[in-house]
Structures are given as structure tokens and as C-alpha cells.
């Protein structure tokens, strides 16, 4: 369903993503794991068509993201990092706007908004403007937006960020349920989340894929069978001063 080949993204001399390849099929939940600034968001922004890749190829449902972006974007529901929303719109207005941009009209649009509102428990704030929402509601509003057209592919950038433990549990459950029939890619730096929701994990560090496999496979790499030990062993903390030279384009 999603195929990413040798993806590279350079910002000036800095390589944010360096030769990342993976593919995901329907029914899989792929977890993107990595320290802050590892290139998770940049990769997701390229897969969703926001950033054009410096080099490499992305196909979604057979459509090339660079050559045929509209067809590819139609298949994707995307929750960007920090869950943005138009501050002055109501939740209802915002979801209707997103549904309309997805080409939903009339009754189909009403049903889609209703469904997304139910999935994300937004009934109570439907007519509240987005800038008055708590962080949890704001996050769920943006999540609802990504689900509105019942997409085949869901890309969620830190979907549980800023949620309370109940909401986190709820969202993980939702990801798992949706993952049975769709492709889900989500990023996180919370390790328990990976175990709770993913069928496969990719660990990214400094733009490279440093490990990939099922959560069980990765855990087996550590003598104690703990994921956070594996994580710490293969990624560098950003407090360590690293050699910059390998990041600079020759």
C-alpha cells in the first residue's frame, strides 16, 4: 500500500532523512520510534506530500506522491504534529470544511462528520471554537479530521502527545482497531505505546533506520527483554556531541 524507497531530505547542508526505505501493507500498524529530531516528522511530511523529497520515491496505493499527488493524498488521513486547527472555527465548522475538501457533499458529508465526531468523542464541544478547547479536545478534533473520509491510510504524528492517560488508552485502542483494516503509520517516543499498538516497529535515529522488526523481535535483542534498553543501545542521546561531518553533503 505504501512504498518508500531511498528517501532523502536535505535542509541546506543538513540531512534530516537519509536513505529511508520501508513498505507497509493493509492490516499493519507501523510504529515510528526515535528520539526527538530523528527525522520522524520529516519522513511523515514527505509521505503525506507536504515536503517534496530531495531524492527517493514514495508511492501510496500505486500513486506516485510526486507525480500524482492529488490521487495519493486522497487515500491518506493525516494528523500533523501538534494537531493544528483553525483557531476561530468551531469544531463542527472545521470538520465540515475538511470533509468538503475531501470531496464529501450533502448527506455523505453529514454522515462523515457525525461518524468522526462519535469516534473521537467530540459531541460536547461541537459548537465551541477551536482556540477555546483543551489540549486533549484539540488533539481529538484534528484526529477526527484525519478520519473523516474513512481513509485507507492513516498517518499520525505523535497521536497521543498531550493526552491524559485515559485518552491515551482510548487513542491506542482506536489505532489498533483501525489498523485491522487500514494501513496505520504513527510516530511516538513512548515505548509502551509501541508494544500496545504496533505490529511492526522502525527505529530512526539521525535520519537513518537503525532497527526494524516486530516489537517482540526487537525486545529479544536485549538480555532483559526490555524495549527501552534496546532503544537506548541503538540511538544516541542528543546531549552527546556527535561527529557532524557525516551529515554534511560532500
Amino acid at each position: 500500500m505504501i512504498k518508500v524507497e531511498h528517501l532523502v531530505k536535505a535542509f541546506g547542508p543538513k540531512l534530516a532523512v537519509n536513505d529511508v526505505s520501508f513498505s507497509v501493507e493493509r492490516g499493519e500498524v507501523l510504529g515510528f520510534l526515535g528520539p526527538n529530531g530523528a527525522g520522524k516528522s520529516t519522513t511523515m511530511r514527505m509521505v503525506t506530500g507536504y515536503y517534496p523529497p530531495t531524492s527517493g520515491r514514495i508511492t501510496v496505493g500505486g500513486h506516485d506522491m510526486v507525480e500524482n499527488p492529488i490521487a495519493a493524498k486522497r487515500l491518506i488521513g493525516y494528523l500533523p504534529e501538534n494537531a493544528p486547527g483553525y483557531a476561530d472555527m468551531t469544531v463542527n465548522g472545521f470538520l465540515n470544511f475538511c470533509a468538503e475538501l475531501r470531496g464529501l457533499q450533502g448527506d455523505a458529508r453529514k454522515r462523515a462528520v457525525h461518524r468522526a465526531v462519535e469516534l473521537c468523542f467530540l459531541e460536547n464541544v461541537l459548537y465551541q471554537s477551536i482556540d477555546t478547547l483543551s489540549k486533549g479536545y484539540k488533539h481529538r478534533t484534528c484526529l477526527a479530521q484525519s478520519l473523516i473520509h474513512d481513509p485507507d491510510v492513516l498517518i499520525l504524528d505523535e497521536p497521543t502527545d498531550g493526552l491524559d492517560p485515559n485518552q491515551k488508552h482510548e487513542v491506542r485502542g482506536l489505532i489498533k482497531r483501525l489498523g485491522e483494516s487500514k494501513v496505520v503509520i504513527f510516530s511516538t517516543h513512548i515505548l509502551e505505546e509501541v508494544e500496545a499498538a504496533c505490529s511492526r516497529v522502525i527505529i530512526i535515529d539521525r535520519g537513518h533506520i537503525v532497527a526494524s522488526g516486530t516489537p517482540a523481535e526487537l525486545k529479544a535483542r536485549s538480555p532483559e527483554g526490555k524495549l527501552d534498553e534496546v532503544f537506548r543501545a541503538i540511538t544516541l542521546p542528543d546531549t552527546v556531541k556527535h561527529d557532524v561531518s557525516h551529515e554534511v553533503h560532500a
Binding site: 535542509f11 507536504y50 515536503y51 517534496p52 493525516y78 483553525y86 472555527m89 479530521q145
Partner: protein, 247 residues
């Protein structure tokens, strides 16, 4: 979804955005107060004893200089600040559709503000017998002028997430578009440069092209000028937005 449906959806949201915040009401009230003040007090509408709206339209390039950037400064900078740009541009719409939708919404809003000045036209018709063709041409010219300034603001707002910077840049560029053909400046310039150079510089000015409309002449060249400014500025907006993402 076809292109027009996408443009319309974005336009509708943007236009509604003016009215859900106080911007629209503040803008409309100030615009109408200022046009009234300039036309009747500074422009000596009554003392002129002329059945025309010259004293009304003359001030538009100067009035728009501050008001149009104020209406347009948030177009893209707000999207960047809120992060909704990422949302909008990962929807199945092209960058062009988003740019045109946003531009048209603001232009429509400015057209509404301009349309609300209709009492001036009624007044002049009540007191005298003006040439309404000239008045109509004046309105068309004023709308084109507003569109040109707005396209500039659209471009500057794509440059930064800071609305103040976007506003100031936009005012500066619009000021240049005025001054290049403003007679005190062209007079000064003609002392140092050959008439050809002065004419070329003046040809870039909105003043030169706005004057025709005020005289009631709908010259294709003037229309083409304003349309090209709008087209060029929106094109640059697109390039800026593309480059920001290209890294």
C-alpha cells in the same frame, strides 16, 4: 473533486474567517469612516460643485496603502503560525487552488467594503447629474487597484509567520507602486533622467493606470496591467510556498 469546488471551499472558509473574528467589522467601519472623511472633508466634495466622484476615488491609492495590507497580512502567515498550512496542503488540493481560493476570498471582502460606499454614488446623483459610466469605471479601477495591493500582501504574508512583518513589507512594496508614478516623484526624476526612463518607471506605477479609470476610460492596457500585477504576485506566492517546503 474538481478544481473549482476546491477553490470555492477554501474561499468560503476564508471569507467566513473575516466575519467570525472582529477583523471584518473593524475594517468595514474604519474603511467607510475614512473614505467619508477623505471625500467630504479633505477632498472638498461639496465645495467643488462638480457632479463627479473624483474627490472620492483620488484617495483610494493612499487609503488602500494601509487598509489592504491589513486585510491581507494574515492570509498565509496565519496558516504558518497555526500550522494549518501543513493540514491544508496535505489535503487533495493543489497549492494553486489554495492560493487562488484565499486571494478571491479577500478580494471579495474588499469588494464588499467598496460596495458599501454606495451612498456616495447616491449622494452625487441626488445633488447633480453625474456621468454614471465614469463612476462605474472608477469603481472597476478601484477594485483592480485593491486586487493588485492584495496580491502583494498575499505574497508578503507567505514570506513570514509574523503578521507585522508581512504588513510592513506589503506597505513598502505598495508605496513603491504608488510613488513610481506619483507626479512629485516623476517631476523630480525627470530632472535627472531622460523622459524615456521616467516613462518606463511610471509605467510600473498603479497611479498611472488608475488615472484612466478615474477619467471613465476602461483601457485594456490598464486592465492588463492590474491583472499582470495580480498574476505575477500570486505566482511569486506559489514559488515562495513551494520553496519553503523544498528546504
Amino acid at each position: 473533486m474538481n478544481a473549482w469546488a476546491a477553490i470555492r471551499t477554501i474561499m468560503k472558509r476564508e471569507l467566513a474567517g473575516y466575519f467570525t473574528s472582529p477583523i471584518a467589522y473593524v475594517f468595514l467601519v474604519i474603511f467607510l469612516l475614512l473614505t467619508g472623511f477623505f471625500t467630504f472633508t479633505i477632498g472638498n466634495f461639496f465645495e467643488r460643485g462638480e457632479a463627479s466622484l473624483v474627490s472620492f476615488f483620488t484617495w483610494h491609492p493612499w487609503l488602500y496603502l494601509f487598509l489592504v495590507p491589513a486585510a491581507g497580512m494574515r492570509l498565509w502567515s496565519e496558516e504558518r503560525r497555526l500550522g494549518t498550512m501543513e493540514l491544508l496542503l496535505t489535503m487533495p488540493v493543489t497549492t494553486w487552488q489554495a492560493i487562488i481560493g484565499k486571494f478571491l476570498a479577500s478580494w471579495l471582502f474588499l469588494a464588499l467594503a467598496l460596495a458599501l460606499t454606495f451612498p456616495v454614488a447616491i449622494t452625487v446623483n441626488y445633488f447633480g447629474d453625474p456621468d454614471n459610466g465614469v463612476i462605474f469605471a472608477g469603481y472597476v479601477g478601484s477594485l483592480m487597484l485593491a486586487g493588485a495591493y492584495l496580491a502583494v500582501s498575499c505574497m508578503t504574508s507567505a514570506l513570514t509567520r509574523n503578521q507585522v512583518i508581512s504588513f510592513i513589507l506589503s506597505v513598502m512594496i505598495c508605496l513603491f507602486l504608488i510613488l513610481a508614478g506619483y507626479s512629485p516623484v516623476t517631476d523630480l526624476l525627470s530632472q535627472y533622467a531622460s523622459p524615456v526612463v521616467v516613462e518606463i518607471v511610471a509605467a510600473f506605477s498603479v497611479m498611472t493606470h488608475f488615472e484612466g479609470f478615474q477619467r471613465g476610460v476602461l483601457d485594456t492596457r490598464d486592465v492588463v496591467f492590474f491583472a499582470s500585477v495580480i498574476g505575477f504576485m500570486l505566482f511569486v506566492t506559489g514559488v515562495i510556498i513551494r520553496n519553503q517546503r523544498a528546504g
